[in-house]
Amino acid sequence: MKVLDGLYYSKEHEWVKITGNKAYVGITDYAQESLGEIVFVELPEIASQLNVGDVLGVVESVKAASDVYSPIAGTVIEVNEALDDDPALLNEDPYVNWIAVLEFADDSILDELMDASGYEAYCSKEE
């Protein structure tokens, strides 16, 4: 299982990368591995306002459809449209292929998310 340093991780297996006041959000390697081959990704609407824990999108695999929860509050300013045509990108590299970018005002929630080593420990407990 791949975990990258410098990202924030949620218990629902999303990652967040912070660049200025922008947050890139995606699903983790653990998430794509447990979902199996991903066949469809539902992206959020641009300009939609999301609170922490709101449904940001849906990832559908041959096994199941799973909601992706927003780990941070903000406004969706960009979505990864490449996932519409090629949802398998999430299997190939879930860290390069983010799902959406949120512009946020308040990053205090980041304190509640895990860092790479914390997330790794969390996943090994899940196993």
Partner: protein, 488 residues
Amino acid sequence: MIQKEKALIFEISRPGRFACSLPECDVPQKDLSELIPGELLRDSPPDLPEVSEVDLVRHYTRLSQRNYGVDAGFYPLGSCTMKYNPKVNEDMACLSGFANVHPYQDEKAVQGCLELLWKTDRLLSEITGMERFTFQPAAGAHGEMTGLMIIKAWHESRGDHARTKIIIPDSAHGTNPASAAIAGFNVVEVKSDENGLVNLHELEKAIDGETAGLMLTNPNTLGLFEKHIPEIARMIHEAGGLLYYDGANMNAIMGVSRPGDMGFDVIHLNLHKTFSTPHGGGGPGAGPVGVVKELVPFLPAPTVEYDGQRYYADYTRPLSIGRVRSFHGNFTVVVKAYAYILTMGAKGLRQVSETAVLNANYVLAKLRDLYHLPYDRHCMHEVVFSAENQKKQGVSALDIAKRLLDYGFHPPTIYFPLIVKEALMIEPTETESKETLDSFIKAMEDISGEAKQDPELVKGAPYSTVVSRLDEAMAARKPKVRYMPMSE
């Protein structure tokens, strides 16, 4: 050799070959463009297959032989209750008084049909502890939507417009949250506890003044009985909500316990599961919805009523949610279920559930040493294993399911419920003999051995089927839904 034949009807087509010979046309021929406006006509004739009668018959006979159903073999698809469909049910549904009536016939001429609907309503009400049923919903999820619309109508009739949330446990059938969303509710998920039951503490946190109701399957999809149901019902009712019973697992409790007595207010039944009518491609289904007394005014109109002398459809129901389907739903399915209930009788139905539970526990006891049992205790009508032990050798639940095809069995449900990793959900039903169960158990034992000794063998399965492992991801990502000639 014939069994391996995979050609499509288009591929065996040869120009000019045909299966009929029509006499010369004896009326004056007209050009099509004189009869139909040019813009509605095709530019070129459609690409229809041209085959002889014998090739046509062989082609479709071959395809029909590739069907697998309960008439062909064991079908332990969890949560689907693939029990045998007694053929006497079909005889009853074929009686001309049922099969050859028209829904617009005068009520006087279809008294028998209305009587059957009325009496099935009485029987299902007795079995479930409800007051009245509607037969309009065409299947389970349709029943869920209907039930949720009734819940909504009830709240609104009381001037309570704040009830926007439906609480659903994480072990629920996927149709539950989907139906709730379609009916205009927001879904609040409640996690299961370590015993696989609704977590009462989490439930308490989820309940508030916006709670319209709770949807629950009992026994749940782990095959476990929600023993705290009286407590759950009290919590929901005290908060002003209603309880919806997903009847998919009714086969476990008939004649033993009743949803009405557990505190449920609305229920759907799947006649094509519990009441032995054909399921899946053999359908259609029927998802009658039953309600407690207070909710009867909200049932879809018309209901079937009896005034002591005649049966009639009652359309004057001001609080009704309205029609959810034409006429009285899939009527002949109700005929089959009625035939089944009368065949079995009260004692027989209880025996159905007892045997269904016994069969599932037999499979559980026989396979528990080889397959991981995430919730280790007696189950109800179905048992959920996990392929975690086999996964250590790289063999997944999917691989085991595919390998079962080589052993001649329909696989169980896999990867559901979602809260069990590598889930294998086995529902044997009451209609299977010990010998059938034993041969299935033997196959599962053999596959477990193969997973240890030769995991690649299992991962490459199936080998004996007409086509080998299909690319499910590609089928979902880039589906081909019609024949395309090579030239296109």
